[in-house]
């Protein structure tokens, strides 16, 4: 096992999770390559080979639009996430590309104080590693459940 690579990927996933959980949403698009793809889908859609996503972006610009809509347009009750990321498997594809699979759980904390297990699933990542660091070329968030409670505003 390439320990250094493993640590680099785990570090990326940890920084990503903290950015979301700390409400630093403006930093979120910066984890992606310029034409990076981001999708949230369900295990059922994936298994049935169906392409529909809950959120789908294929550029940093689309991700920035998502953040800007969350900040300025969309209305939702204030809430925070706490991500727990684990079981990170790393596989080198070539000199600059890495595939990673990880598990996550997201606890959603509402302004009322209610904390619930909001989502669980896995992330299927394709990561570009170069001198400037590690960026997602593709991040597919696969929700274990097909049901989302109320709304999914903040990304996972």
């Amino acid at each position: 096992m390439d320990v250094e690579l493993q640590l680099a990927i785990e570090n990326l996933l940890a920084r990503y999770a903290h950015a979301l959980d700390d409400d630093r949403l403006e930093e979120w698009p910066e984890f992606f390559a310029e034409n990076g793809r981001y999708r949230i889908t369900t295990a059922e859609n994936l298994e049935r080979g169906l392409p529909l996503a809950i959120i789908y972006a294929d550029s940093r610009a689309m991700l920035r639009d998502r953040v800007s809509a969350l900040r300025h347009a969309n209305i939702y009750e204030s809430q925070r996430y706490r991500h727990t990321v684990s079981a990170v498997l790393v596989e080198r594809v070539d000199a600059r590309t890495v595939k990673a699979t990880s598990s996550f759980q997201v606890v959603r904390v509402m302004r009322t104080g209610e904390s619930t297990l909001f989502a669980s699933g896995r992330c299927l990542d394709r990561i570009r590693m170069d001198a400037s660091g590690a960026l997602f070329e593709e991040r597919i968030v696969v929700l274990d459940s097909r049901a989302v409670d109320t709304l999914l505003a903040i990304p996972i």
Partner: protein
């Protein structure tokens, strides 16, 4: 207090009493009189069950049902309940089979819901088994009448339910044909669990008044401003409707800005507006059409994003909203990509829909101590009629008109 002791406010359709969203007895009566009564309940798309043997499980109200295409190609719907002890017959969301066996004691059924086998009915080596005059069929799962209209599958338990087209009215039927104009292909789905009574969501879909006030994304990009051309058609007995918008006809008015509405904020622009690039695939300039069929079906065309939504009650304060997005079998890759991109507008993360799940919950929570109070539904008057203006709650009143007739309230 029984449901019969509930009295609708004297103002009629212009008021909706809050007990209607809260009362367990009202909920039970809805199951009996609406969902298991003379209404057409949406089950899914024919495209979900293309082949003989295909089945899915879903609900009519909160009654579990199996929908299956039998070997003759006909669609069937029957209660998902074994004649023996009442266990769920079918435990899969979907699949393909030649018969269905209850896991509990292995009683078997054909795809029309007929009981075909009782395990050890004659006992084993002369011991045990059922009496000769036993009639387990007497408790067989109930069969529903099924109708497929333009690829949309509905079912009813009642013999009284009028034919589908008469039930929704000619104008609503025409607008279904408009969207379901050719064979469709399922693109995927998901569910949204709403913390509110099912009627709050169904009202929300019919409420053209809220669209550009709650959903800022719409207004800012002039996707649906009330001064744009459009209209509301109320169909059938009132509980079905169509609302539509012709986006390119934006009159460029400044009513929102002058009224200082929250739903317009200056300077907000998309960096990747390609998401909204759409084609007029119906050739009529209608960019948005929302259609409902009483009591729990929604057909959506938002630009090139097409979907059906099934509203499933899960108790007085909880609703499951099942979304299925589709395109046409004839779509090329570019069209599919366009539909998938525009799916960002809808669903639990939808730019123009994520608020709806929360807003209906705000009502459910807000009226907690106010069963004897009522909401005010007087935009556009107090009656039910089709309207060119969308600053109206006419289709919300239409829902309550049909609802009250079924419920005798």
């Amino acid at each position: 207090m029984s449901a019969d002791s509930r009295t609708w406010p004297a103002e009629g359709l212009a008021r909706v009493p809050y007990w209607v969203y809260q009362d367990e007895r009202i909920y039970a009566r809805e199951q009996e009189r609406l969902f298991r009564g003379a209404t057409w309940n949406f089950l899914g798309l024919e495209a979900e069950l293309p082949n003989a043997g295909d089945f899915k499980t879903t609900f009519v109200g909160d009654m579990p049902v199996v929908v299956a295409r039998d070997e003759t190609g006909a669609l069937n719907c029957f209660e998902n309940r074994c004649a023996h002890r009442g266990a769920l017959l079918c435990l899969k969301d979907r699949g393909s089979a030649s018969e269905i066996a209850c896991v509990y004691h292995n009683w078997t059924y054909d795809l029309r819901g007929n009981l075909t086998g009782v395990a050890f009915r004659r006992g084993i080596r002369g011991q045990g088994g059922m009496p000769d005059d036993a009639q387990p069929e007497s408790q067989a799962p109930r069969k529903l009448r099924v109708t497929a209209f333009c690829g949309l599958v509905f079912a009813t338990l009642s013999e009284e339910t009028p034919p589908f087209e008469r039930y929704v009215g000619a104008e609503v039927a025409a607008r279904i044909r408009r969207v379901m104009k050719e064979p469709v292909r399922v693109l995927g789905g998901y569910s949204q669990i709403l913390p509110s009574n099912w009627k709050l969501y169904f009202e929300n879909v019919k409420d053209t008044y809220h669209a550009s006030l709650l959903h800022l994304f719409f207004s800012t990009f002039r996707l649906n401003r009330l001064e744009q051309k459009g209209g509301v058609i109320v169909g059938g007995d009132g509980g079905s409707h169509v609302s539509f918008t012709m986006m390119k006809s934006d009159a460029g008015g400044d009513e929102y800005e002058r009224a200082g509405m929250r739903s317009v904020s200056g300077g907000y622009r998309l960096e990747a507006p390609q998401m909204l690039e759409s084609v007029d695939e119906f050739g009529d300039g209608i960019t948005l059409q929302i259609l409902t069929v009483f009591p729990g079906f929604v057909l959506q065309q938002i630009m090139n994003s097409l979907a059906v939504r099934q509203v499933l009650p899960k108790g007085p304060g909880r609703t499951e909203l099942v979304w299925t997005a589709f395109g046409y079998a004839s779509d090329d890759d570019r069209m599919t990509e366009r539909r998938l991109k525009q799916a960002n507008l809808v669903g639990p993360s939808g730019y123009i829909s994520l608020e709806d799940g929360a807003a209906t919950g705000f009502v459910q929570r807000g009226v907690q101590g106010a069963a004897a109070h009522a909401s005010v539904v007087e935009m556009g008057g107090r009656s039910v009629e089709s309207n060119e203006s969308r600053v109206t709650e006419t289709s919300v009143r239409g829902l309550w008109q049909q609802y009250r007739r079924h419920m005798d309230l």
